[in-house]
């Protein structure tokens, strides 16, 4: 039953996402914005820099193996407007990140949302009036 509920929810989210215009990331990386992934893990590094900030965190893959994911965001200027600062993340923080994974199957993604250790949620900001892709 749980699987069916998850599938139903996934279908609904999928339907809603189809309605959104697709803007590719401005670098070469292509992200699967239709199949977002959420992982819990431990921050190993947070780089606050242009052109895009980067969050590195250890998490477990589907086989239970620890992997270090590199999740990029938009630029610091965009994150500031979404409530971030250079002090938002620190090594050792337990977080949950929702991201669009790379279509190449690499441990890389584009951040959509983070849940901080205190439970606060932050999005990845917007480009123009659109969310980060």
């Amino acid at each position: 039953m749980k699987n069916k509920l998850i599938k139903s929810f996934g279908l609904a989210v999928g339907l809603l996402m189809i309605c959104a215009p697709v803007f590719a990331h401005h670098g070469g990386s292509e992200y699967d914005t239709k199949n977002l992934v959420t992982r819990k893990g431990t921050v190993t590094e947070f780089i606050w820099a242009n052109p895009h900030c980067q969050v590195f965190f250890d998490t477990k893959d589907d086989a239970g193996k620890v992997v270090n994911l590199a999740i990029e965001t938009l630029a610091p200027a965009v994150l500031k407007r979404a409530g971030w600062s250079p002090e938002t993340l620190h090594p050792g923080d337990q977080i949950a990140i929702t991201f669009a994974p790379s279509t190449r199957g690499t441990p890389v993604g584009m951040l959509r949302k983070v849940v901080l250790p205190n439970g606060k949620e932050l999005t990845g900001g917007t480009i123009g009036e659109l969310p980060a892709q």
Binding site: H52, A70, G128
Partner: protein, 265 residues
């Protein structure tokens, strides 16, 4: 089994109902905001302030200046030279080598989904684009294009008023930048015209006309809108060391050459 299906349908319906309510609330708020915007007075000749692009307001059917899944449709009216240049540029972009520090030129700056600030002086309008910290001068003191100026990335711009429309003419581009994020090209023959109109307090409309006979068989236009924001621009200079770190951390992990890309001739 039947209960599972019913519950699944209920969950789906709940999500859709919630979404519909959220969309309805958003529409209501948008309508209120629109009414508020219409009632605010403004000076049609004042473009000062920070403006953020609103790509969703672009009329349907026009060439879109941001990448739509890598397959922009429609495409601009390329010449054979323009088509070949676009395909070469696209390979460059697909390799992740778009992140360089060359000034963006005027069109690409306008179509970058980041804010810019206009500062009006007695003899010129200054534009500060947040992304890569690019600056542009639009001369409004009646001067003509200089005869002795070397072409560069940002070109040279002069502006004049036609009623409440600010008409900007630009050329003297060096042709080394892309016109848009998808890699639409421009050459040294590019002549760009912009027609600026403040359509209400919060909205700036600019119609861009591109005339570049080397790259395009006829002139073509893009209509783009910008919203007035109560923001301050943030620092976003382009620095090679940060680009290199980005390549090492993201591009290379994603099996992309990034700035190490070398075009194959």
């Amino acid at each position: 089994m039947r209960i599972c299906v019913v519950r699944s349908i209920a969950a789906l319906a709940a999500v859709l109902v919630f979404s519909t309510v959220t969309i309805a609330q958003a529409a209501e708020q948008t309508a209120e905001a629109k009414a508020d915007t219409k009632s605010k007075t403004f000076d049609a000749h004042d473009f000062s302030g920070v403006w953020n692009p609103a790509p969703r307001m672009q009329p349907k059917g026009e060439v879109h200046p941001l990448d739509l899944g890598g397959h922009p449709d429609p495409l601009p009216p390329f010449t054979p030279t323009g088509q070949a240049k676009y395909l070469a540029n696209k390979k460059f972009i697909d390799a992740g080598d778009v992140l360089d520090c060359d000034p963006f030129g005027t069109a690409k700056n306008f179509f970058t989904p980041r804010p810019f600030e206009n500062i009006q002086a007695h003899d010129r309008l200054l534009q500060h684009f947040e992304y890569y910290d690019n600056w542009r001068e639009i001369w409004t003191d009646g001067r003509d294009f200089p005869g002795d100026l070397e072409p560069d990335f940002m070109g040279f711009s002069i502006g004049k008023w036609e009623g409440d429309t600010f008409v900007v003419e630009s050329h003297l581009y060096n042709g080394k930048q892309f016109l848009t994020w998808q890699g639409f090209p421009l050459s040294e023959s590019m002549h760009q015209t912009e027609r600026w109109q403040r359509v209400d307090h919060d909205t700036l409309k600019i119609v861009f006309t591109f005339d570049d006979p080397k790259m395009y068989s006829k002139s073509w236009t893009i209509t783009y809108f910008y919203k007035l924001m109560d923001w301050k621009l943030d620092a976003h200079p382009c620095t090679i060391s940060e680009l290199k770190r980005y390549d090492d951390n993201i591009s290379h992990r994603d099996n992309l050459p990034g700035r190490d890309y070398k075009p194959q001739n």
